[in-house]
């Protein structure tokens, strides 16, 4: 149990997706202008990653991993090179499904962040989560925890950046630094802060 908790905290803070691994930066920067949209993005990320990482684990272990077809007598069949295409398919389908479910049962939530749900299909953080899951050979429980943790870490980071940027929109910045430039420097400072979590993990 402590192992899973450590994995959760590690995925959320030490290996924070946008700040230390540089994943999902496009949406991270594009949707952090307001805390409200940032909040929607964070919730959607947690939901989608919590579902797709374990789902991709099942598909990878059941169909693609070397030796997965041993039970019909083809133990040396290795389909792992197909995993990229399979993962993208699963993610696209999950996002579509999530959108339809939300639209049908929770129209208010859907209206709140419906516009950028489809964008999550091409979110590097989501695909990256699934690829890391294969790379680090997690088991099913670990992949659920890892998916939820990294989604939550992304959400925390994006809401914080959204809050800072709202305040900064009243500041008098040099013209060239306005918007994207200052967003990068802020992200760098936040990343410096999150780097201290790595020290905490080491000293444990």
């Amino acid at each position: 149990m402590t192992g899973l908790w450590a994995l959760f905290l590690g995925a959320a803070f030490v290996d924070n997706m946008p700040l230390t691994l540089f994943l999902g930066l496009c949406t991270f920067l594009a949707l952090s202008k307001r805390p409200e949209s940032a909040m929607g993005l964070g919730v959607a990320m947690t939901g989608v990653m919590g579902v797709t990482v374990p789902l991709n684990w099942l598909i990878y272990q059941g169909l693609l991993a070397p030796g997965a077809w041993a039970w019909i007598g083809m133990p040396e069949l290795d389909l792992s090179y197909l995993s990229l295409i399979a993962f993208i398919g699963v993610i696209a389908a999950t996002v579509q499904l999530l959108e339809m479910v939300l639209d049908r049962f929770f129209p208010t939530i859907h209206a709140a962040f419906g516009a950028f749900l489809p964008l999550l299909t091409v979110q590097c953080a989501i695909l990256g989560g699934s690829l890391f899951m294969v790379d680090r050979s997690y088991d099913l429980a670990e992949s659920v925890v890892f998916g939820l943790g990294s989604g939550l870490g992304f959400g925390v980071a994006v809401v914080m950046l959204g809050a800072i940027r709202t305040r900064l929109s009243y500041a008098d910045l040099p013209a060239g630094l306005r918007g994207l430039g200052i967003a990068f420097i802020l992200t760098g400072l936040m990343s410096l802060g999150f780097a201290s979590f790595a020290q905490m993990a080491l000293s444990q």
Binding site: C26, T121, C124, L177, L180, F184
Partner: protein, 221 residues
């Protein structure tokens, strides 16, 4: 489209004036992750440019046959197949660099730059201009990667392409490597500074302020 397409303009426009990384905010994820040293930055640039050019060409070739409703899936599958080919090629011939790049080669699939260009340009243009536009964007992306990768390797390790340029203090020289340059935050700072520099030089790229200062507001009244 004009009768004679100006290929030179299409090719050079994305280098600085319409740079994909600093102006269009596309493909930042990989731009920052792989730039701790020049060789990885260069490999990534070449892989991305190849995938981008080929996918733009392929999608432009079949642009009249893709139904609008499923075009995203078709585009992603084409891009993903190309990325698998590049990934296998790197693993076979450049095993060391492939390990250093880890999952970031596979992540070219979801690189917003590739999908963004095919969606915005290749879908409406003939194969040749589409390929030139994609190649130009690839070059613009590579330019940023090489600048950042070069700076980080030079100041982080005192070397370029693994060759020692600045003599290290630990080996009797004068240069003490800046450890921060190899960590994540420095990539953000460098890119932020680069954006600032480019936008100060080409002031038309600067974003309009969201709120006017009180003095300006009074002047407007």
């Amino acid at each position: 489209m004009a009768p004679r397409t100006d290929f030179w303009a299409i090719l050079t426009e994305p280098l600085i004036r319409q740079n994909p990384v600093t102006l269009q905010i596309l493909g930042i994820c990989s731009a920052l992750a792989v730039t701790t040293s020049l060789p990885t930055a260069l490999t990534m640039s070449v892989s991305l440019t190849v995938v981008l050019t080929l996918s733009a060409m392929l999608i432009s070739l079949i642009r009249r046959h893709i139904p609008d409703s499923i075009r995203l899936i078709v585009q992603i599958v084409i891009i993903a197949s190309l990325v698998v080919v590049i990934d296998q090629f790197l693993q076979a011939y450049f095993a060391e660099i492939s390990r250093a790049l880890s999952i970031y080669v596979s992540l070219i699939t979801t690189n917003c730059l590739v999908l963004g260009r095919t969606e915005a340009y290749a879908r409406h243009h003939a194969p040749l201009p589409a390929a030139v536009d994609a190649f130009g964007n690839g070059l613009g992306y590579s330019l940023i990667l090489i600048i950042i990768g070069g700076t980080r390797e030079l100041f982080g390790q005192g070397s370029l392409f693994g060759e020692q340029v600045l003599p290290l203090a630990s080996e009797g020289g004068w240069f003490t490597p800046l450890g921060l340059m190899l960590l994540a935050p420095s990539a953000f700072f460098l890119l932020g500074g680069l954006v600032w520099a480019i936008r100060s030089w080409r002031i038309e790229q600067a974003e309009a302020p969201e709120h006017a200062s009180p003095a300006q507001a009074r002047a407007a009244e």
